[in-house]
């Protein structure tokens, strides 16, 4: 049983106070999810906080693996197309449902582009290209959630929680101050010595027009996770809105709820379970795999938690895939920068100094290296859990809170919608959508009674961060 929660990968950045504050945050996130699954009838809940609920040291360890390269792109494109798409930057404005973002410069809106990577399997990467030669020099990979970096940049205040009226509902008892010098130091290590502190924070409010009003999306002085050193010019931590540490905790918790279809039959199919449960995307590799595996363990009467240190990790690399132009062993091209073998948080791929050949001469599975995506294809991810049978039996089965719609144009496309939204709402003149699994939803969807369970809204996209009038 951990006395406290450690930082991901047991990295040693934190001061004692930061460690305490971070532990408190993880503790709160896990406990919040447990509470959200708990009803007033004393029914068993199969998600637990190991700090509060001790289990024997020999409780089963559960590792759940998936591929680092986005499955959504693999099924949507051919290999070259998927690789190209994975290198695209997407608009942050779009992820909020907004047309465009502006920097509010003394009352004058100046258009600004903030972007995130199209890499949604809890692993992101970015090549570094030599400006003079155009040669790729290295590819860096990270699976660090943005929350950790926000915690360094802004301290514990950034994680205060409020209700819709702005009243505080949770804050850490250990107040941790922002640590800009640590932030700058780490950024300079991982993105380059040119990084300046001002680059990492919003210099002005970032605003947008929403339904005819100006709203503030990010406040002046707030940490900017989409800064250039973490997007266009480097990669320090993950940027995709789905790649959140808290999302992983919420997903694991939500997946402990057994679900039944409209006939009362348990839902065991992986895609059906994702479509029903209100977490994640049906076409990602990570969400369905994590959800279905967790739920399968629960159906075996086990309770689950995430193992300390809570994090998402690069677990294994197919080192055999990497080969120099003269048959050299490519293992030496890898450097684990943060974390350790089996729990890698940051790794870099580059030809060692003095090798005498460029990175583009390296072969990945026999193919000359042209993009970081080829390297990512050889990485496997994992999260680690602990499972234990408390003898409490199976939690009550609940009906679906969401459902899936299938595009009739591309039947490989599935979208998860909340229980009250019909597939028809997705229809466009050229494309109709139909219920993917009608048997899941024929009965009333209990969306209101179960809304707490289905709420996996990522922290960085909470309405409170974008809802205020300027």
């Amino acid at each position: 049983m951990p006395d406290s929660f450690s930082p991901p990968g047991n990295v040693g950045d934190f001061t004692d106070q930061q460690r305490t504050g971070w532990s408190e945050l993880i503790d709160h996130w896990v406990s919040s999810r447990v509470a959200s699954l708990t009803d007033d009838n004393g029914q068993p809940v199969a998600f637990f906080n190991e700090r509060l609920t001790p289990v024997p040291p020999d409780a089963a360890e559960a590792a759940i693996d998936w591929d680092a390269f986005p499955l959504t792109l693999k099924v949507g494109y051919d290999t070259d197309g998927a690789r190209q798409e994975s290198g695209r930057l997407l608009s942050v404005a779009g992820s909020y449902g907004l047309q465009r973002l502006y920097e509010n410069v003394d009352g004058t809106p100046q258009p600004i582009e903030l972007s995130y990577r199209n890499q949604d399997e809890y692993c992101e990467w970015q090549p570094t290209v030599d400006a003079a030669t155009g040669e790729m020099r290295r590819v860096a990979f990270t699976c660090e959630g943005p929350e950790y970096w926000e915690f360094i940049a802004s301290g514990s205040d950034a994680f205060r929680e409020t209700d819709n009226g702005g009243n505080e509902t949770w804050s850490a008892s250990t107040s941790v101050a922002a640590d800009p010098s640590m932030l700058l130091d780490r950024y300079r290590r991982f993105a380059g010595p040119e990084v300046k502190l001002d680059d990492l924070f919003h210099g002005n409010d970032i605003v947008a027009q929403d339904q005819g009003r100006w709203v503030r999306v990010f406040a002046k002085g707030a940490y900017n996770p989409y800064n250039k050193w973490n997007t266009t010019d480097g990669v320090v931590h993950m940027t995709h809105p789905a790649n959140l540490l808290r999302a992983e905790i919420d997903l694991a918790g939500t997946a402990t709820v057994p679900r039944a279809d409209s006939h009362g039959q348990p839902i065991t199919g992986t895609t059906q379970f994702v479509c029903c449960s209100g977490f994640g995307s049906a076409t990602r590799s990570s969400d369905p795999t994590i959800g279905a595996t967790v739920n399968s363990l629960v159906r075996q009467h086990l309770s689950l938690t995430l193992r300390d240190p809570v994090g998402v990790y690069m677990k294994t690399i197919n080192y055999g895939a990497f080969e120099g132009p003269h048959g050299e062993d490519g293992t030496a091209y890898w450097r684990i920068v943060r974390g350790q073998e089996g729990m890698i948080l940051r790794a870099e791929f580059a030809v060692p100094d003095g090798a005498g050949y460029p990175l583009s001469a390296v072969l990945v599975a026999g193919e000359p290296l042209r993009s970081g995506a080829q390297v990512a294809e050889q990485i496997r991810m994992s999260l680690y859990g602990r499972a234990y049978d408390f003898g409490q039996g199976l939690p009550p089965t609940r009906p679906c809170v969401t459902h899936c719609c299938t595009s009739q144009v591309n039947r490989n496309l599935l979208q998860v919608l909340d229980g009250t939204t019909s597939c028809d709402t997705l229809n466009t003149p050229g494309e109709t959508w139909e219920e993917s699994f009608p048997e899941l939803t024929a009965a009333a969807i209990d969306s209101l009674a179960d809304s707490r369970v289905g709420d996996t809204e990522p922290l960085l996209r909470r309405p409170t961060r974008r809802g205020r009038l300027v």
Partner: protein, 530 residues
Amino acid sequence: MGEPSTVDEPLFAASDIQGNVAPGFATEEQRLVGLRFKDPADVPAARLLLAQLLPSVTPMSVVFPARKVRSAVARGHLPVSAVSSEVWLNVALSADALSNLGHDEVARLDKAFEFGMGARSYSLGDPREPTSADGSPNPGHRANWVAGGPGREIHVLLTLAGTDAAAIDTRVGEVLGLEGADRFDVVLDLPGVRRDTEHFGFVDGLSQPGPRGLVPGDEPVPLTTRLLLDLRVGEPELSRPGQPLVWPGQYLLGLPTQLPSDYRTAGPVRPNLPPFAHNGSFLVFRRLRQDVAAFYEDTATLANDLAAKPGFGHITPELLRALIVGRWPSGQPVMRSPYADQPSDEGGREPLNHFQFARAVPAIDLDGRPIAGVGADPSGRVCPVLAHIRKVNPRDLPTDQGAEFRTLTFQMLRRGFSFGPPYDHDNPSGEQNGTERGLAFVSYQASIENQFEILNNKWMNVDGGPQTGGHDLLVGQNSTPGQDRTRTGTLFSDTGQTVVSVMRPWVVPTGGGYFFAPSIASLGALAHGG
């Protein structure tokens, strides 16, 4: 039971599709012959060879009815003389060969095919060291491969099959006597036998996907015989126990593929396919040497060690081997008979596949034959996660690759056969046991990257796929630095669990290649300069 639901299933161009892709030759005698052009860019030589082979390439339209005849003979409905003694032939080409013939558009469909098995050997887990610890050439290293390594690449792979080895000999002789034969070398000549039992002593080839689609005739007939089982909507439709029906675009280009949310409806045809590729299929050939003595010695030692551990006293070498394979030598799955090779009294092969892992299967009645149901084993307590049949076909389990429907899309049509003499267990030091033996692994699929290489790289060779719990001890390769190629996995008993590890390879890849088996029309275009 239900009526065969063949609505919307495509009608095959049976005279255009090579017959070993579907329904598969499945004759007892088989032979692979690999040809390499002395000048790889000798286009006239390639055209001349293909033009002479073309008339005897055997299509589905010949093989399908002939296999029906063979089935009738096996059931005693027809005399043995009804079986044709004809030698069948199929042809496949490497990416280089196709490119030289002006068709590099096929290589653009599949990275694995484009770069080839030799170039991807290390990523498949094969050893990097060209010499073994004792200084001898390492047979698993691509430089030492029997065929398919550098300088010994196969440009054209011929599959010959029939009931009579002598007739195949004659046919091979004819091929080697063709006009222009002096312009190519034979880099592979691998005769073998398609037996029920492979060299380690286990009944093989029990589990194959069932391609949907109809073979034309007076009355179109399903390619895959349907002994249909009605299961829940949302689960695959089975043609027989353990054989899911799969849309044929997973094996043949240009046909409907499998959908994620609906097993019964035709999915889209792969977009932007060049016309040349239609009705073609990618072929993987891997020459796998089997070390029978090592398999038996190592499992005996390991079983001994295990039996000394608390909770594992019941482990015998026979049980350990069954756990490693997932089946007993008779083919009886551990899922249905966990402790002994108890022959099924239900008869036939169908019971041997009536199991899943994530969910229990109910008792069924198959044409008047009752087949008992069996429980689920989602965590590998009965059939361990490391078991070969579970590693390569996790059936209804969610996997690291996503939802279980995706497992269906990775399955391949396997057409392998054994080569070399059987191992003589009664005379271990006998001369026969000094001869090389193994499996000519042959599979057809629509994508080598997304089928063969997923199973090989993401499942057999790692401990975390399709579930966490170990490498495929039987055929997996661990090339992780610092782990000495040791395969490990977890076994459970009623009271605990233990990790087993194996260092010696029991199966060594000693050659192979990635190929494309074009339609017969496209073979004609190649032969005549189209």
